[in-house]
Symmetry: C2
Amino acid sequence: MKIAVNVHLKAGVLDPQGKAVLHALHTLGFKEVEDVRVGKQILLNINAKDKEEAIKKAEEMAKELLANPVIENYEIEVKE
Amino acid sequence: MKIAVNVHLKAGVLDPQGKAVLHALHTLGFKEVEDVRVGKQILLNINAKDKEEAIKKAEEMAKELLANPVIENYEIEVKE
């Protein structure tokens, strides 16, 4: 089962990479972009009997390794 | 409008970061994980009149700046 874990810096945390991309997009003429946040998307292929089990496992992995809870939020997404 | 651009290395391209995460997950006991790919998720806040326009703009940005078409694939996702 394919599960995506999307990890992003929390709202209050400065995201210099996002700022750099925003600036570059403006320079290229994309003036309609108002904000950019750059995060990670980790695609996991999990051997699980159903969706619920895969989500539960991905949740544990996010907490233990994939995200830093001090500065990052994560979100679990089922891909297929 | 919030649009996510998910950028991942193409299937044939080696992903050492993904391999490292897979190894770390196995070490932590998550034996049910079979494969890991680590990519980027870029969240864009686009000022557009409708979803179609926002997607079209995000597509242009992905082609011009956000993804490297030689080694990366991208996918556009409407977040809200």
